[in-house]
Symmetry: C2
């Protein structure tokens, strides 16, 4: 029961266009199997796509993401290759931790700003009696 999905189903689920999926495939971020000429997306393909979309939300480029993905399935990789990926991932993790800290701070600052704006808006409403 290896549930595979068509391109349309993928698009509906993940809110992307067919063009996007084909583009990611061209960039070697995805590699769906074929049934004739039609693409079929496996469970792993779906997992990868989720990682891709998540990476994008964090501001990573597709190339950045491709390298991270390589680490998740370091199957055919040799030692040297794997080691390079490992070091690269260490950097990324540090970067992400830094980003998480900054993000938390930014949220706090914005919320403080929001309270200031609330006061201003309340004053506006008061002035209108």
């Amino acid at each position: 029961m290896t549930q595979t999905l068509t391109i349309r189903e993928m698009c509906d689920i993940y809110q992307v266009t067919p063009r996007t999926l084909r583009f990611y495939e061209a960039k070697e971020l995805l590699s769906p199997t074929r049934e004739g000429s039609k693409r079929l997306y496996s469970k792993q393909d779906r997992a990868r796509l989720q990682l891709i979309l998540r990476g994008k939300r964090f501001g990573f480029s597709l190339e950045d993401i491709r390298q991270l993905l390589d680490m998740y399935d370091h199957n055919g990789s040799n030692q040297a290759q794997l080691n390079r990926t490992y070091l690269l991932a260490q950097d990324r993790i540090a970067q992400m931790k830094q980003q998480a800290a900054e993000l938390t701070l930014a949220i706090q600052e914005l919320e403080t700003e929001m309270r200031g704006v609330e006061v201003t808006l309340a004053a506006f409403r008061n002035a209108a009696e």
Copy 2:
């Protein structure tokens, strides 16, 4: 002692190129004063630039960022304008909180992956005696 900086000083401090600063100005994200034709960046300009660069790290577009910046100095804005900005910022904050949660999760997952890779690498080294 209103310490203002030249474009070069700004570039050195924030690791951007003059082109980038001029570009942000064209996009109305910055508005340095002039001394003759030369740009001079005030303390507020510096604060704004920091917010811009931070926003970029989170994957926001310059246009997204411009709207957020508007909230930080909602000086000449009228009620309707301010209210729209406020609602928009609420969305952004929700989005950022979501992003923070996801980021934390992603970090954990990556670190788990890393441990797996460490084992693989250790095995490689063992095989080499």
